[in-house]
């Protein structure tokens, strides 16, 4: 653990850390382009040069190991001049694209120029090196070779993270340009990451291109709901519309990365019509809108009737592995705790318990739900039913009469999803009385006795438990439309209608109660569910 000083401030580094890493850990940012904590070191941008006592030349802080007693300066005149020089060099051939470049507002050339540069350009426009612009690199990425500062982050990403090597330097000297071989489009499920790591607007997102200036966006910390990996993300939104998802760095889960499907998963939310009102099917077989109060009262009394007539075992709680822990907890508390139901499950297809099966070597899992582990830890997995097939059978045979079903459309689609929805429809058809909580309208909703509009991912705050057993908090970024409510609120209202205590005002209140009563989550605090999340024991 070498101790050194940076601008007279003492810092203790970990063994093997470079100066820039130790400085970052201590909260000091040394300006840089090519360095990235999750990529191998390259040392080519020369922006992170620092002065080290006893070294005759300035040295890059990303390639220099911190050693005991080292005296480092990053803000001396000599360093400032060098950094200003590197910046000036980077800007001489850089096109003046700011007005049309997506990166504006989060661009390291702009940011560092304001702090270290503020010089006047000494090169006439005609002298600038011209390169190719707006090159189509496939569905996710657009390349502008002129804007590139040749930091090689994208090259190193494809080389070392996905092991595929699609991008490389071409040419020599100030005509070097990055690109793919013969402009071949990027066919890589992680291609979107190079847009994140590109410090300038050379690689931009086709999905986000020209849609919104970044300074208009608000950010909400969340967790991707695409699969059981549970990558930490940031939802960027404005006025109720999500514009993009970015990964948040979580060394325990996804480092700095996010898969393309997850990145685009928010578009699923904007596809199709939403369920906007609670609907109850009348004697005429037609579903009519009602108020929440009426809906909740009707549901509670009807379920109690069925319980009287057929026993508590005739009620099924079919949760969703995409619902939050708080939602599933109150779901269980109402149906199980209050009504005494004993049949619970959540598995719509066979992948649902392969929580930990990896789809590739980088991030993705086959289970396209964020909270299968959460559902399991809350005990919602019936050994008797073994998933929806068993539930359908039990319903067909009349052992189960009523069911409350939470169904979320998967945000990352697979071919088997249609079959899965078909099975949900079958279940609803077999049930005498069914309550469906859903976000998006589907044909099969018409078979349900009651349809309740609920919040989708990004509209409901709550925790998910990923494949590692790690609990992470997903924030609420936007409002649902219509009368849709967060799932946890629906069950809080049902508990209230049933005459049980229902004191929770916000989802973290539910979380607190859950940690008190559920063995799996005992002792956990809500703070622990922020980055990087906390792993709960079996």
């Amino acid at each position: 653990m070498p101790k050194f000083t940076l601008n007279d401030q003492p810092i203790e580094a970990n063994d093997g850390q470079t100066i820039i890493q130790a400085a970052q850990d201590a909260g000091i940012d040394i300006p840089h382009y090519c360095y990235h904590p999750d990529l191998p070191i390259d040392g080519n941008c020369r922006m992170c040069l620092v002065e080290v006592e006893k070294m005759p030349k300035l040295t890059p802080s990303c390639t220099t190991m911190a050693t005991e007693g080292m005296v480092v300066r990053s803000s001396s005149e000599r360093v400032k001049e060098a950094v200003r020089g590197v910046l000036e060099f980077l800007l001489i051939n850089h096109p003046v694209d700011c007005p049309v470049c997506d990166q504006a507002g989060e661009c390291r050339l702009q940011d560092y120029y304001m702090v270290y540069g503020l010089h006047t350009s000494e090169i006439p426009l005609e002298m600038k090196v011209r390169k190719r612009k707006a090159i189509d690199l496939g569905p996710m990425v657009v390349l502008d070779q002129e804007r590139c500062v040749l930091c090689s982050r994208c090259i190193r990403f494809f080389e070392h993270v996905t092991d595929t090597g699609e991008m490389q330097f071409f040419g020599r000297g100030d005509h070097v340009a990055i690109g793919t071989f013969e402009d071949k489009p990027l066919d890589n499920p992680y291609s979107g990451n190079v847009v994140d790591i590109c410090p300038v607007g050379a690689l931009t997102s086709r999905d986000f291109r020209f849609k919104c200036r970044v300074w208009f966006l608000h950010s909400t910390d969340s967790v991707c709901a695409g699969c059981s990996t549970g990558c930490s993300v940031r939802i960027d939104h404005r006025d109720g519309t999500i514009f993009r998802l970015l990964p948040r760095r979580n060394v325990e889960v996804n480092q700095s990365w996010l898969c393309d499907e997850g990145r685009l998963s928010f578009h699923e939310l904007q596809t199709g019509e939403r369920v906007v009102r609670p609907m109850i099917k009348g004697r005429d077989g037609i579903q009519a809108p009602v108020t929440w109060e009426d809906a909740v009262r009707s549901i509670d009394s009807r379920l109690k009737e069925i319980r009287e007539a057929n026993g508590a075992g005739s009620i099924l709680g079919f949760g969703s592995p995409s619902a939050t822990n708080e939602a599933l907890y109150l779901f269980k508390r109402y149906l199980g705790g209050e009504l005494g139901a004993t049949h619970f499950d959540f598995r719509v297809d066979s992948e649902d318990t392969n929580v930990a099966e990896e789809e590739d070597q980088v991030l993705r899992h086959f289970d396209k739900h964020p909270n299968s582990m959460g559902a399991m830890k809350l005990g919602l997995m019936s050994a008797e039913l073994c998933g929806i097939e068993g539930a359908i059978k039990a319903a067909r045979e009349g052992r189960i009469k009523a069911g409350v079903v939470i169904y979320f459309n998967p945000l990352v689609r697979r071919r088997r999803d249609e079959e899965a929805e078909g099975r949900v429809l079958e279940l609803i058809d077999q049930l005498e009385y069914s309550v469906v909580l859903a976000t998006h309208r589907a044909e099969w909703h018409q078979s349900a006795s009651v349809v309740l509009p609920v919040a989708a991912w990004s509209e409901e705050e709550g925790t998910y438990t990923n494949f590692q057993g790690r609990v992470q908090l997903a924030g609420r970024a936007i409002e649902s439309g219509g009368d849709a409510l967060p799932v946890w609120e629906v069950f809080a209202m049902l508990l209230h209608a049933a005459g049980a205590e229902s004191p929770w005002m916000a989802s973290d209140d539910v979380f607190s109660t859950m940690t008190e009563t559920e063995a799996a989550y005992r002792g956990l605090t809500i703070e622990q569910t922020r980055l990087p999340g906390a792993v709960v024991v079996e």
Partner: protein, 414 residues
């Protein structure tokens, strides 16, 4: 003066193994194989031989940095990527004394415990590929190379690898990258090639001229070599002289020989009755000397350094009073811009920018501010790059502009 390297180079048809052996070729290798390898290293150390590629690092000391018993093979790479403008001495040796090089490499390989060696030859020397392959084949046939060198318990393979036309691949880590099949980008150091070079193994990269000097040193002994030259610059040096001289060519002189004597005697002096204006003594990467500054300067590492320049590769360019210095500098600056690999910011952008500013100036479209701008670009590049190519551009820019400033200012558009 002693001829260590060029004793037979002027005679025609000397490059066959038969002719080479006739005049005692491969006897030095025989002798070395009879010594302990550590003794060979000591001999080279004591000889005072310094790297002839341009850096002038003591060869024996470089060899002793290589760790033994790492479990990894040691590699010897011959740097035949001669690309420094003004330098054509290695080409001369490669063409006329390939066996001198092969024998030198074999001696070095034996000293280092290396069994696999490569000659990395500049891509533009395509016309030398076949002759060098032929020389290597002769050596294999004669049992000089292969499983049992000269019948001894020492195996050595030497392969020829052609470069693809990049000056930067003369930088040792860039050479290694290229040999490994990657783009010729210099590596971050540390680690150094001595411990992590070719294929992450201990590696020594030596220049052609350096290796070619070894047979003489082994035959005649370290003391004999150290007796030639000056206190710190031992032995002889090849100079390839070009420019405004009557007899351009490659010459071998003892280190410490006076610069002006060399120009006037060996190189035949300035023709057409013109006067000397400037000399670039060691390749375009070293600072230029004005004619007055050449008084009393000796051709060795120390004297040239004291005079404000460097011995470098020994690629001497002589300029008479018809030379327009800004034009000369523009040609030089174009070279560095063309050859910059592009890996790091200051060199990539700076060499390109300087080249453009100079072109403008020479075309009469520059301004007075451009003259200081050139110096500013030089300062911005210096000492901040991964390899010294940027510094190699800085030296000529700074020395030309400072020493011949009036010529540059005169070009500025009024």
């Amino acid at each position: 003066m002693t001829k260590i390297l060029l004793a037979n180079a002027d005679k025609p048809g000397q490059n066959t193994i038969a002719k080479y052996r006739e005049r005692g070729g491969y006897k030095a290798l025989e002798k070395a194989l009879g010594m302990e390898s550590s003794a060979v290293i000591d001999e080279v150390k004591a000889s005072g031989l310094r790297g002839r590629g341009g850096a002038g690092f003591p060869t024996g000391m470089k060899w002793s940095f290589v760790p033994r018993n790492t479990g990894k093979p040691t590699y010897l790479l011959c740097n035949a990527d001669e690309s420094e403008p003004g330098t054509f001495k290695d080409r001369f040796l490669l063409e006329r004394e390939p066996h001198l090089l092969i024998e030198g490499m074999a001696i070095a390989a034996y000293a280092l415990g290396c069994h696999l060696s490569y000659i990395y030859m500049r891509g533009e020397f395509g016309f030398l590929e076949q002759p060098m392959e032929a020389a290597l084949e002769e050596a294999y046939k004669a049992g000089i190379l292969g499983a049992s060198v000269l019948g001894r318990d020492f195996a050595l393979d030497i392969h020829l690898h052609m470069g693809a036309g990049a000056y930067i691949c003369g930088e040792e880590t860039s050479l290694i990258e290229s040999l490994e099949g990657y783009r010729g980008y210099p590596r971050i150091k540390p680690p150094f090639p001595a411990t992590h070079g070719f294929l992450a193994s201990p590696t020594v990269v030596n220049n052609v001229e350096t290796l070619a000097a070894l047979p003489w040193i082994i035959t005649n002994g370290a003391q004999a070599h150290a007796a030639i030259g000056t206190e710190k610059s031992k032995g002889t040096k090849l100079f390839s002289v070009s420019g405004h001289v009557s007899k351009p060519g490659v010459y071998e002189v003892d280190l410490g020989y006076p610069l002006l004597d060399f120009i006037n005697n060996e190189a035949g002096g300035i023709p057409n009755g013109r006067a000397l204006k400037a000399v670039i003594p060691g390749g375009s990467s070293v600072p230029v000397l004005r004619a007055e500054e050449c008084q009393g300067v000796l051709l060795d590492y120390e004297s040239l350094l004291k005079a404000g320049s460097m011995l470098g590769s020994g690629g001497m360019i002589v300029l008479d009073d018809t030379a327009k210095m800004p034009e000369v500098l523009s040609v030089i600056a174009d070279f560095y811009a063309h050859e910059s690999c592009g890996q790091c910011t200051p060199c990539r952008e700076g060499t390109g920018w300087a080249s453009k500013v100079l072109r403008n100036l020479v075309a009469g479209e520059g301004t007075k501010a451009d003259v200081d701008r050139l110096l500013k670009i030089a300062d911005m590049m210096e000492g901040k790059t991964i390899c010294p190519l940027a510094d190699a551009d800085v030296m000529p820019i700074r020395s030309f502009v400072t020493k011949f400033r009036s010529e540059f200012e005169a070009l500025a558009a009024s």
